[in-house]
Structures are given as structure tokens and as C-alpha cells.
């Protein structure tokens, strides 16, 4: 099977500061890929470009299929409850029902908060919803920016179980993080350094 996403020659600068200087990569179908890098290395910038949030100065991104994007900054509306968020995104994605959303809430263990107003949730629970909104339409490609920030240990483990499940069903998952704990779960690990991706073997800290 071919790649679900191909990226070639991505360059990006903020003002005079070059952040990405020629990023090339492929995301094969059914793969779990990690990108690590220091704070400020440009990981979020790269993901925004892949998600179409930001236009690169140069370079090509080819996508196939639907994708879901979970931004590093939690983007929710404090006036709405968890269930209202799901309802809005169900409409956005044109889904017939919220069965998948229920499963994910179950997996991430925050179903009991369905009726709560998001403004009153804990940071970790907000992040669970932030992540869930990127998953409920069963995308072919998942772009996740620091998806487990603020998760407790059990949720962290459940997150990886979920990621492995997705890979099994031929979806591709790209996880960006400044931590490289879980290299053994990944098919490929890249390190973003000085604006380019290099093979990141043996990075476990």
C-alpha cells in the first residue's frame, strides 16, 4: 500500500527566523510514526502545515483520505458541555451518530464528564476532549501534537493502546512530542533538529 501522506521540501520561517529548512517524510498506511525534538524545534509548526492551518513558505504536502488534527493548544469552547462539543463536531464531520465518540470516551475514561461544561473541567480532561474531537470521524491519518500532555499514567497507557488499535485498522498515526519515552511502540521515529528531520534511533531517555 502506498503512503497516505507525502511531504517534500517544506520550508517555513517566522519573520527572519527559519524554523523548517527542508522537511521530507512519508506516512505509510497503517503506521505509527513519532517526531521528537526540543522545545521550539518547530514540531508544532510542521504539524500545522500538514493540517492546512498554516501555509508553508515552500514545499509540497500530499494527503490521501480524511484526517484528524489534534492541536497542541487545547481548542474548545468553554460555554459548551462535552456532549455539545461532540454534537457540533458530529455535524461538522457529517457523522450519522456518535458511536465512535462513545468508544473513545470510554477508552480515555472520561464518559462521566459528558454533561459537564468544558470551562469547569480539569486540564487533563480538557485534553482528552481535545484529542477525542480529532478522532471521532475515524480518519485515515491522525496528526497529534503532544496528545498526552497532562494525562495521568493510566490514560497515557490507554492512549497508546488506542494508537496501536488505529494502526491495526490501517490508519496512520503521527505523534509529535518533546519526550521520547515510547520509542519501542513506534514504527518510525524522526527527530526534528535544525529544521530538518533525521532518523532518531536510540533516543529513549
Amino acid at each position: 500500500m502506498g503512503a497516505l501522506m507525502k511531504v517534500a521540501g517544506i520550508h517555513h520561517a517566522y519573520g527572519g527566523r527559519a524554523v523548517l529548512r527542508g522537511v521530507d517524510m512519508e506516512l505509510p498506511r497503517g503506521s505509527l510514526v513519532g517526531i521528537v525534538g526540543e522545545n521550539g524545534a518547530g514540531k508544532s509548526t510542521l504539524l500545522k502545515i500538514l493540517a492546512g492551518e498554516l501555509r508553508p513558505d515552500r514545499g509540497v504536502v500530499r494527503h490521501e483520505g480524511r484526517f484528524g488534527y489534534c492541536p497542541q493548544q487545547v481548542i474548545l469552547n468553554d460555554s459548551f458541555t462535552v456532549r455539545q462539543h461532540l454534537e457540533l463536531f458530529r455535524t461538522a464531520y457529517s457523522l450519522p451518530d456518535l458511536r465512535r465518540a462513545e468508544e473513545i470516551m470510554e477508552a480515555l475514561n472520561f464518559r462521566e464528564y459528558a454533561g459537564e461544561r468544558v470551562g469547569a473541567l480539569s486540564g487533563g480532561t480538557r485534553q482528552k476532549l481535545n484529542l477525542t474531537l480529532a478522532l471521532i470521524h475515524d480518519p485515515d491519518v491522525l496528526l497529534l501534537d503532544e496528545p498526552y500532555q497532562g494525562f495521568d499514567w493510566e490514560t497515557y497507557v490507554r492512549f497508546w493502546q488506542l494508537a496501536v488499535q488505529l494502526r491495526t485498522s490501517a490508519q496512520s498515526v503521527l505523534v509529535v512530542s518533546h519526550l521520547a519515552y515510547d520509542v519501542d511502540r513506534l514504527d518510525v521515529l524522526w527527530r526534528l533538529k535544525e529544521g530538518v528531520l533525521c532518523a532518531g534511533a536510540g533516543l529513549a531517555s
Binding site: 501555509r55 494527503h63 483520505g65 484526517f67 484528524g68 468553554d78 460555554s79
Partner: protein
């Protein structure tokens, strides 16, 4: 219900929920409107004054406190609706963008904002008219409510535009307050000499003020003034439309994708697998 209508209804419902959750704006409506109007009623002398309606040159006779209530009511409805629309637009800007990028059709999102603006303006204007009616009898109460409404929707649209453009919340609130205060202070038919009527005619609620004064104290219906107000509203609405499109557009092509068709540029939601290239 067709899917696109259903999306519009859902978006409107959620926008209204957001407004109602804005406790401060709701409290402003409940307290500030009657407070302002009552202060006009009791603190301003009820001496008869005559003033010239700039729009027609007609001389109208009114009690000072009643005339003050009209400009106070205009001040209150423009501030409240302007503030409420600003605050909702400002705080949900990135969220709206995320929703749009996920495939929520932008026209429906935008129309929902317009619907909530119209509803909020109607409620606040009717309320203000009712409070004034409790104190005295405007000659044409319906026209008075319509005039207040026309100013409220104008400021609401200004609020949406500001909410999309400014970087910090205080900047936007300050701008709404400043515009409304200057606008209405200069139009006070008694205090302001109307010396420079050319300037006064250019103020954003000039049409509404003229029409509201005529509604309070005469039997004239100043359609041309309501027309002027309509032009202000359309201008402000177009500005906010452009700002909203800019804010929610996808960076992929710079175009706004029509997500219902899974346009190729709408990457996050392309319904059918397809290949897209951008460079």
C-alpha cells in the same frame, strides 16, 4: 429538514447557548437598560424642550427626560449588543476556525451568527422600548423599537468585526464603548448645537437617533433615516464577513473551501480519498 438547514439550525442553537451563558451580558440587559432609562426619567428635568430634527428640519417638542431616555436607550442597546457580539466572537474565534476546518460549512456558521445578532438585538430593543413605555407614551412605539433595533444590529456587526480583528479583549471592549459614547454624545439634540450637521450625519447611529426621536415625539416615519442606518449595518456586516472569512479560511489554498462537497483543499475533511497537492 435539509442537511444544510439543519446545520444552520444547530449552529444557531449553539450560538444562542453561548450568548445566554455570557452571564455578564445578560445581567447588563436586565439591569443596565432599565437603570439607564430610569435615571433619565428621574434625574433629568421634565421641562418641555423644543428641538429641530436634523433629518427633516421639523421642530419637535418633547420633555427633556423623555428625550434623554431615547438617547440613553440607544446608548444601552448599542453597548450591550456590541459588547455581546464582540465577546462571543472574540472568545470563540479559534474554536470556530477549528470547526470550519473540520468541515462545518462556513456560510451556516456565519448565518448562525447573523441570526443570533438579529434575535439578541430584537429582544434588547423590545425590552428597552417596553421600559420607556412604562414611563411615558411614545407616539410610535413600534417605530421606536425598530429604530433601537437598527442601531443595535449595526453595533453588533461592528462587534463581530472587532472581535475578529483585535488581539486583546480589553481593546475591543474599549473601542465599542468609545464609539458608542462619542456617537451618541455628539447627537444629543439639546446639548449638541448641531453646528456641524455634516459631521453628525456621518455618525454610525445617526439614522437610528433621528428615526427614534421622530417615533417618540411625532407622527413622521423617517424611512430615509432607517435606510441610512441600513447602509451602516450592511457596511459593518460586510466588514465582519470579510474578517470572518479571513480568520477561518484554510491555509492550504488560501481559498475558502466549500466543505460540503469535500473540496480537495479542505484537507481535514475530504470525504473521499483523493490526492491534493500544494506548493
Amino acid at each position: 429538514m435539509s442537511p444544510s438547514l439543519a446545520r444552520f439550525v444547530i449552529a444557531t442553537r449553539f450560538t444562542l447557548i453561548e450568548h445566554v451563558r455570557n452571564r455578564f451580558a445578560v445581567a447588563l440587559v436586565l439591569l443596565f437598560v432599565p437603570l439607564w432609562i430610569s435615571l433619565g426619567q428621574f434625574m433629568i428635568v421634565d421641562m418641555g424642550v423644543s428641538f429641530r430634527l436634523w433629518a427633516t428640519g421639523e421642530i419637535l417638542v418633547a420633555r427633556g427626560n423623555e428625550l434623554t431616555q431615547i438617547s440613553g436607550a440607544l446608548n444601552a442597546v448599542t453597548l450591550i449588543v456590541g459588547f455581546a457580539m464582540f465577546s462571543v466572537t472574540f472568545s470563540s474565534g479559534t474554536f470556530d476556525r477549528r470547526l470550519a476546518m473540520a468541515g462545518y460549512p462556513r456560510p451556516q456558521l456565519l448565518l448562525a451568527k447573523v441570526a443570533s445578532l438579529v434575535l439578541a438585538s430584537a429582544v434588547v430593543s423590545l425590552y428597552a422600548t417596553a421600559v420607556m413605555w412604562a414611563y411615558w407614551s411614545p407616539r410610535q412605539p413600534v417605530l421606536l423599537a425598530v429604530s433601537l433595533f437598527s442601531a443595535a444590529v449595526t453595533y453588533g456587526a461592528v462587534g463581530v468585526a472587532l472581535g475578529t480583528v483585535v488581539r486583546r479583549e480589553l481593546e475591543g471592549i474599549f473601542l465599542v464603548v468609545m464609539i458608542s459614547v462619542i456617537d451618541l454624545a455628539l447627537q444629543n439634540p439639546i446639548a449638541s448645537k448641531g453646528a456641524d450637521t455634516a459631521l453628525v450625519r456621518l455618525l454610525p447611529s445617526y439614522g437610528a437617533m433621528q428615526s427614534a426621536s421622530a417615533a417618540g415625539f411625532s407622527h413622521s416615519v423617517l424611512l430615509s433615516c432607517l435606510g441610512v442606518q441600513l447602509v451602516w449595518f450592511v457596511g459593518a456586516a460586510l466588514l465582519s464577513l470579510l474578517a470572518f472569512r479571513r480568520r477561518t479560511r484554510s491555509a492550504v489554498t488560501g481559498r475558502v473551501p466549500s466543505s460540503t462537497q469535500g473540496a480537495p483543499c479542505s484537507l481535514p475533511t475530504a470525504r473521499r480519498p483523493k490526492s491534493t497537492t500544494r506548493s
